[in-house]
Symmetry: C2
Subunit: 428 residues, 2 copies
């Protein structure tokens, strides 16, 4: 590998130049080894955030992060693979019904997931509400479970893209999270290293999403689709609305319950719609668009895979989920129509009730969260329960209520209400 110098690479990007392949390979490798210091990488990250990277640079950066660790290989499996990544939203439990559903359609789903930080929950935090369920699997266990059941949701191992792990922790404390080239390469390095054949990206847009405006979300989606495509992964992105939270729950155990309702053939219409839309993209990407996933929800085969998948990771699919010690009901202030329910307000409330964490070492409460009893467009009656707040610690209610304040509108009956499209666009 050609030797470079950290200051040379930083100054090049600072002065608006493109980094060469050799500079990118060197800086990622040297940072992983500790030869480029955190304070040098954070200055480079800020220069990238402010001056950008072009498609070649982002692809090379992603490739260098992949090369920093191991790659998994699913080519020995008897069926094709497809994975899904969401940029994070409130009430976004889609992975839970989606993975067993797609597996029931004959495509293997290696869903290597993370824990949540801030107002959006993490898939592993939700599943850990199930008594006994374990997130950590060896690579061999992942392969075995994919072959036997077709679906695994587990923690991503430390071996995949260690440069990304180190860089992500650094960006988190240096104000350099919001750089599209770095977000895209962070997500895609892990997904490409994981070895999936097809990938569907759920890029959220709206108040509760990381990307508040459609233009940024579209740029991120296009960047990631290009990265996946260049790396030989069949990649598609859906831009989906996150101004309103998904379903009727935001939390951990309560989102598992809602997911099981969907697998049982019921559940909120928006959760079902998005699950099926993403499943169809995953199946198409894996060459199995001959199968209709709605049939596998209806015939119970997706539920069968769910139960096997939970059991395979030592969880009990029939166990009662933990109940919150404390609850508080917010009633509708007037009769009329719920015309707005803000995703960020609900997400912050759930976080403050204990469903999420502020620092990555914090624990989360399995039973904490928010249930809402109406969705935008629904009629409500003065005094009816609008929200149920759940937590194990009653002193959390005040701050959660403050988060909800101003986060919803009930307007007189007959007020015009036009629902937003859940799937805004498809890219790829």
């Amino acid at each position: 590998m050609t030797q470079h110098d950290a200051v040379e690479v930083i100054v090049a990007k600072r002065d608006g130049q493109e980094l060469s392949d050799s500079q990118i390979d060197w800086v990622i490798d040297a940072y992983t080894r500790g030869d480029v210091a955190d304070e040098q990488m954070s200055a480079l990250a800020m220069a990238i955030l402010l001056n950008g990277m072009d498609r070649r640079e982002i692809a090379r950066w992603t490739g260098a992060m992949i090369a920093s660790g191991e790659r998994m290989d699913f080519s020995g499996l008897s069926r094709p693979t497809a994975d899904k990544h969401s940029t994070g939203g409130v009430g976004d439990k889609i992975t839970l019904p989606l993975a067993p559903l797609v597996a029931a359609c004959g495509v293997a789903v290696p869903q290597l997931s993370g824990r949540g930080l801030g107002h959006t929950g993490g898939t592993l935090d939700k599943l850990e509400a199930i008594p006994g369920w374990r997130a950590g699997l060896s690579n061999e266990e992942i392969l075995d479970q994919l072959e036997s059941l077709g679906a695994v949701i587990c923690a991503a191992g430390d071996g995949l893209a260690p440069a990304d792990k180190k860089l992500y922790a650094l960006r988190d404390v240096t104000g350099t999270v919001e750089a599209i080239p770095l977000i895209a390469s962070s997500i895609m390095s892990k997904k490409i290293a994981e070895g999936t054949g097809a990938l569907v990206l759920d890029v959220k847009v709206g108040t509760g999403a990381f990307m508040k405006d459609e233009a940024s979300a579209r740029e991120l989606a296009e960047t990631m689709v290009a990265l996946g495509t260049d790396a030989g992964v069949h990649t598609v992105a859906l831009l989906t609305d996150m101004s309103t939270p998904l379903g009727l729950t935001a939390g951990n155990g309560i989102e598992v319950e809602e997911s099981v309702e969907v697998l049982a053939g019921g559940g909120p219409a928006d959760v079902v719609e998005l699950t099926l839309a993403l499943a169809r993209e995953m199946l198409a990407g894996a060459g199995r668009d001959d199968v209709d996933p709605a049939d596998r929800l209806a015939d119970g085969s997706a539920m069968d895979v769910w139960r096997q998948m939970i059991r395979a990771q030592d969880g009990d699919p029939d166990a009662d989920l933990p109940a919150a010690r404390e609850s508080h009901v917010v009633e509708a202030p007037s009769s009329g129509v719920l015309t707005r329910l803000d995703a960020m307000a609900v997400g912050m409330a759930a976080w403050r009730l204990g469903a999420g964490r502020a620092r990555k070492e914090d624990p989360v409460q399995a039973a904490a969260g928010v249930r809402w009893h109406a969705r935008p467009g629904d009629a409500v009656t003065a005094g009816q329960p609008l929200f149920t707040l759940l937590t194990d610690e009653a002193d959390r209610f005040d701050r959660a209520l403050a988060s909800l304040e101003g986060g919803y509108d009930v307007e007189p009956e007959g007020t015009a209400y036009s629902p937003r499209d859940l799937v805004i666009d498809r890219i790829g």
Copy 2:
């Protein structure tokens, strides 16, 4: 002090906002105490470099760095004080004759200096070529020497602006040196904390200077003059040419020799001119423009102060300076006129011969450097010595010669040559 958060401050500057007084005070204090990490400060420095700071922000930033350490107080001295700072150039030995000269005119000069890094030499490195001379003085010794002799050139103590010391070391390794707000506040925090009454800034412009173009040099000069003025220090800047090196020597001991020639009433015309120009500004700033420094060069009183000043710091003004073990002569390639002598080429050659250091812990050679035997405009004859390269290690000649290559032009007799003005402008 109001509590802030490092990411909040970084993100504000990253997004192009002005930092509040409270944010600036907090971040400098927290960085000095170690509560803001190096990787956070380097990201902030890069955001400042790319997005800038306005006059209020720079003044507050400078004030916060001053407040991070001790301040000196020269108000008890029986004469006024004036100091000079140069942004660094090749062959820039001006401090050596200037400090005793201004002292001989009745103004005290507290010249707290540094060591060199890269192609420009440091004042302390030059004086350390004098056998026995010691750079480190206590604050009490500084005050005593200023009172008794009127001049002291010594190392700046660790107590002045420790935030700057820490930040400068960080900027050096993170590609964030070239930020005018940070350069200006770094220089001015130390000079204001030092307590001088008047300050003259020698801001160099040209190939051998830190600022290559006049617009940047002017912006830096104006920023520093504003900072000094706002802090109650009588501050003036001269923009001076550094496309050609000063005098006829670049090195350590050989620059001391040239300085002594100036103090003896001789020396190269440009060194004398700049020494007198800066002396007149210092005297005016200190309210002593009734004295003509040229008289004090002529009557030997500046030389008397020099000898006392060297002796007071345990140096022997009569000792032979170290001679280089190896020398190499470069001859004029043709007869004609020397029309160009590039400061950076000469500076790099002197550095590579051992006069300067690449890392701050490296030693320097007292006798290494470059002598040139003609100045731009001088006639030369084919085969006459044009440069003499000096070093203790003969294996350094090759790289030094490579640095000089293309760094000078000898053109046919009669070629038009128009000398540049040494003092380009005066600001303040």
